[in-house]
Structures are given as C-alpha cells and as structure tokens.
C-alpha cells in the first residue's frame, strides 16, 4: 500500500485551542517536505533516513521560520510570547515576554479593598511586608550580591524553581503570578516554609516598597480540585494597615 503525500482520510484543523502557530508551522513544513520528496523522484521509505537532509534542509527550515515570524506579526500584531528572559535578550526581533502582556484583572473581581488574590500553598500566619518585584536575572544577581532586605514579599511572575533559586529561603513570603500550588515554586515554597501564593491575580501592578498584607492564614488550595466548586477560597492581598 503506497501513499504519496501522507494526506490522511481523517484530519482536524490545526490550532483548535486558539492561536495560529501550529497551523502556520506545520502546513509550511509538510508542504516543503512533500515538494522535496516529489522533486527527488524517490520513494518515501528510501528517502526518509538515507537522504534525510534532502527531505528538509536547515536553510529551508530557516526560511520557513522567517516567513512564519513575518506572517505571525502581520496577523497577530505582536511578536512571539516568551517565558524566558533570555529569549527576549537574545532575539529581541522575535520575542516579547508573555508577562508583559495585559495581565491585570478588573478590580470588581476581588473582595472590597483587596488588590488581588491567589491560591495559598500552605496555611500559616498572615504576612505584612514590603513588595519587591523580581522579573529578571539581573534582579536576582543584584540581590545575591546585596542581600535580600528584611521583610521582603517577593512578587515573581515565574512559577519555576530556578530563577530565584539562590534567594527563595531569604524571602519573608512570595506572591507568584503564575502556575499552581504544584508548580516547582509552590513545591519549594512549601518545603522551605516560605509562605507562598500561586496563580495570583492582581487588579494593578504592585510597586517596589509598597507595603501589603497577604492572608496566608487562608486554607491551602486543593491541588486536585479542578472544578471551580471544589476549590478553596483564594487568599487575599490587601494594602497594609499598620498604625491605622
């Protein structure tokens, strides 16, 4: 049984979860591979390994990547989202940090007086402290050299455990704007005993030095509660009221 192009009887559109990138990428790659195969005049089975370089060259892939970037920016009106800072630093023509998108919520979504909320990793005492926003490797390097100020509540938009690895035990508490209570940062916050909110939502940016109180005395979020009705109430972030 031979088939020339690998076109299946049943297929789905690409990108059914939103976005256009798998469709753009795969359609172009598949078309190039098929064109190269046809030009070679050889069978698929004889080409796929023995002449793998002829089936798709690095130069053709680069040309596809370049055309995708242009097309993507035309249709989406932005560069690719990056999670890692290094992507933006090394390839600024391609990337913008995902965390620099519009990530703030309508204030009406929160309890009166709250700036934001999040899923509590473990239950402990409430913490009042000074906000310190940490978004870049340079921020981490500076704090390694200078030390973390006493009473720092770190605001981190990365749910990973590596960006702030040298600093985490020195924070008074953490507000993480991504992930879940089972993300690496959530796991490490629990292990170190550093009060931590994950998947935090804010109605506005928190500013370095701003004093806030975080309600870490709220019940810990159930990591296995996927339905909204099973979830615990989110812990609130409110302006500090000492002396009031």
């Amino acid at each position: 049984m031979k088939y020339a192009t690998g076109q299946p009887k049943w297929a789905f559109p690409e990108d059914t979860l939103g976005g256009v990138l798998t469709g753009m990428t795969r359609t172009k790659v598949i078309a190039q591979v098929n064109a190269n195969l046809e030009a070679s005049g050889r069978s698929w089975s004889a080409t796929v390994n023995q002449d793998w370089a002829q089936l798709l060259t690095r130069e053709q892939m680069q040309a596809i990547a370049d055309s995708i970037l242009t097309e993507f920016q035309q249709t989406e009106g932005r560069k690719f989202y990056a999670g890692a800072e290094i992507s933006v630093l090394d390839k600024p023509h391609m990337y913008v940090l995902r965390s620099e998108g519009d990530i703030y919520y309508d204030a009406a979504e929160f309890a009166p007086g709250a700036i934001g909320d999040g899923d509590n990793v473990f239950r402990t005492d409430d913490v009042t402290g000074n906000v310190l926003v940490i978004r870049k490797v340079a921020d981490v390097n500076r704090l390694i050299d200078d030390g973390v100020p006493e009473g720092t509540i770190a605001v981190i938009d990365d749910s990973g455990g590596t960006l702030t690895a040298p600093l985490l035990p020195d924070f008074e508490a953490v507000i993480c704007l991504a992930g879940t209570v089972r993300s690496h940062l959530g796991i490490l916050g629990r292990e170190f005993g550093v009060p931590t909110l994950m998947a935090s939502r804010l109605s506005r940016p928190l500013i370095d030095g701003e004093r806030v109180t975080v309600k870490y005395s709220t019940e810990a979020q159930d990591a296995e509660a996927f339905l909204e009705e099973d979830r615990k109430p989110r812990a609130l972030i409110v302006p500090a009221t000492e002396g009031a």
Partner: protein, 546 residues
Amino acid sequence: MSEWRISEAQLHLVNTALAEHDDTIVPNLLTRTAQESKLFPMLPYFMMSFMQAYYMYPGILRKASEHISPEDVGHRMRNSSIQLGTLAANMGGQLLYLQGRVELIKLGMIRPEDNLEDLWYVIDWHERVMSTYRRNEGHIWTNAAGDMSQVLDERVLQVLEADAYEVDDELRAAVARFSAVTSQYSFLVYCESRVGMDANGPYNLGDQRMLHVRNFLTLGESGLPWMDGVAADIPYQNLTLSLITDDVRIEVTDFGSAYTVPEAYQEHVIGVGLYTSDIFTDRLIPVGMGSKAELIRTLNEIADVVKAAITPLHRRFAAMNFDEMTEAGILAYVYALSDVSFMSGTWDQEEWEGIDDRVRRLWPVYNEEYGTASFMSDYVAFDGLHGAAGEYYIHPYSYRSWKPGADMTLPKSGRVAQLVPAFVLNDHDYSRRASDGATSSRSALPRKTSTYQFVEGGLTQDELNAKARSYKSPLLEAPWRNFDDASVKFGYQDPDVDAMYRYTQENSRLLKNRGSALVRADIDRIRTEAGESTWAEAAARRRAGH
C-alpha cells in the same frame, strides 16, 4: 541495511504499547502545571529533547544491550537508587522517544510506519526493563497501578523500616531543609525539570502508616558538562531518603513524582533514613545512620554544601545564551537514560553531549510560542492533519470529563497515539532504523573535563567503562536473581534465600544477620529491644502533639 520484518504479533504489541503510552502521558501532562521558566526557554528544549531522543536512543540501547540485558538493567534499578528509576526509565525508555515520534509525524517528517525496527526495539526494551524492575508488583506503569510504585523487595523494605530514626523537632527541621535545598538544586541542575528526582512507594506499615522513598539523583560531577567544578564538593552522587509517615495519602506518578494529601506532609513524617548508592553498589549504603545526632548533622552538612553550589550554578546558566540554554535543556532531558550507557560500560561523553543534526535543522521553528502550541496540539487538543484517529473514536481520558445532561459536545475523535498501520504486514516497504542514513551531531557547550563521581570516588570515562564491564553482583546471578517476593512467600526457609537476606542486612544497624524469617512484628520487637519506638508508638506520639 537491516532486513528485519515485523511480525503480526510484534505489531499488535507495538500498538498496544502506543495506546498505553497515550493512556499514561495524557493524564500526567494534563495534571502537571504549565512548563515555563523565566530562566530557561523550556518549551523549545522540551519539544526538541523528544526528537533528540527519537534519533539518539535506539543506537544507545542497541550498543548497551550488547553488554547488559534489559533484565539486568531492571534488576539493578531495583537493587540501587540510581538515576534510572521510575521517571528516567519511563521517560528515557519510552516517553521521550514516542513523543519525538508523534511530533515528527505531525510535522510530516516521518510517517507512522517509519523506523519500525527502532520502534519495536525501544518498546520491547522498555517493557522488559520495567517488568523486571516492577516484578514484585506486576505493572509496567504506575498509572495502571493507581499511581503506586511498589517496586522494592521485602528484604530492602525491612531494613528501611527497622533502621529509620524517629523524628523529633530537630530531625524534622533537618529533613525539611535538606529536602528543600536539594530539590531546588536538582531543578537547577536539570534546567527546571524533575529528571533528578524520583520516588517509589507507598508501602504499607499498618494502621495509617506508610513508607515511601525519595531519591535525589546526579547531584555531583557527572556526564552533565555544566556540573564540572560547581559540584566538586558535593559528597554524594545519589541520595535516598526513606520517609515513614502517619495519616498521609501518597501517590507516585510515572514521572517519579510523589504527591501527598495533605500537600504539606512534613508534619506527618515520623521516621527517616538516609542512604546512597550508584551503579557499582548493589545495596543501599547508610549515610550518617550511626545515630540520630549523626543523621541530623549529616543532613545539615549536606544541605550546606548543596546550598553553596546553587549560586555558582545559577550564575553559570545565567551566563548562557538562548541556544546554549536550549542545548543544555535537551541534554538534561535525554540524560534520563544515561545509566544504561554507564552500566553497560559503553559511556561515550561525546555521544551524550552532541545534538543530532537532524534535530538541529528543526531548531529555527522551535521558538517558545511554537513549543507551547505544538505541546498543546499533541497532548491536549489532539488536533491537526495527523491528530484524528477516525470519525468514530472517543479519547478515553477526555471522555471522563464529558457529562451527560450538561449540554456538552463529546471530545473530538483525536488521540496522541499514532498507531502503526497493519498494511506493513503486506509489503514491508518501511524504513527500519533512523540510523540507516549518515548522521552526525555537534555541541556548542563547553566540553566536560572532570571525572565522574561514584561512591568510591571520581573515575575517568575509561576507568568507569572498564569497571562497568567487569561489574558483578551475587544479586544478579542465580539463584538470588530469581528470588522475588513471590518466591520468598513460599521459600523463606530456604538457606539460599536466608543468605540473600543476610547479604542485604549486612549494613543494617538493627537487622544485621537476622535472616529471611523476619516479619514486621519482629521489627517492632527488635526496635523495642534496641530502646527505640515502634512506628505505632511514634505515630501515637505525633498525634498527641509530642
């Protein structure tokens, strides 16, 4: 070129394994959090590591299998806590390879019948390794066992139960700090992934008490080139924590992750032990187990040394550019299978440092956003030109979320598994091995120059390969090799079984020379005679708040 042909029986085994992979990978990936890091470009390296494994692993396994059988690998995994455990054997043995296959099919770079001899070889290798490793329990996947991984032999579990120290406030704090620091270091060593941590269990200790094991792996200088120097002072390559808990639910996934309910389990820990091992040890070696005070001091000292390595390692990664970080991430993921090459004496550092040029040519399109989009396509949406499984198909995992009466449309008829079409039995016109064409690989990272750390000290590549080729253990030879727990159930009075138990008990502080007739009640008696609490007493004390 190979003239190998697949048989009908082999084809059905391959497709059954592909379906099991689908059943396993979808819930594991969907219940994990988003793969993202501010430090590492995770999705580009994640997706390309799959394809690196697809091209790299069949050759690695064939070369290793000339010296060590898959069954030998499985036995050694069970006898020692090494890099190759539940996570690494599943990832390395099957998941990475099959996920690379899926991604390449969806890109139109290969077809489902391609490299069929490789596919059969990898699946067969994994099945043989895991069925040996997990022979006491009988499942290949923890997913099929209800997220439990009860792999260890009774003779080992008895030692872990007997020798653990009851936790007091000081020991609890030391264990918590050790776990936190070492976990954090491990995420960094492995570029934000969990490849360096593994777990097994839970094991039943009666009432609401359980024992489980957490392994911290590849902590020292290893085949990961970025560990040179920064890990020089780390005293152990692999460390194993045995944890006895009261009133905690424990699950261990096929990714080797231990999840507990409640998540904050530390307050429920009542007993702890610490061990090391590597591919040249056939038993767990106690670390700081001479006394409770020594164990506390050892845990704190190791945590101090590991903590000191975090900042220099962080700085080393932070100085890398995008391509170097991506390359490091790919190498970190495929390193999952490294112990197979170490154990077989076929380790070749260059082979494990190079990125295959067939993967490098795909590099330009694996930007961060396509990495995420293709991951979602392959494991969540099951969409695209090659995502459909037929118009009548319903994915079993997606179907679990579908509720009648809720006006929900059925999940669409796609799946991860790309089954091999049975027409291959008619004309056998398919490619056999990905290595049939000329291949090459390159590295852009600084080359490794240090030795490889083992229990007995640092070894060069030549030294470790020579040592591996001459390695022997009585646990790998008949008759001990064939004494599983089902054999012990009936043959516990056999002198050979008794000798095997005494061999396992040789380094035990409380069970030395106790032999094979021991049952759990004897362990309670032995602990009492030694002036230590039984675990029932320790649990009662925890509940009373002492």
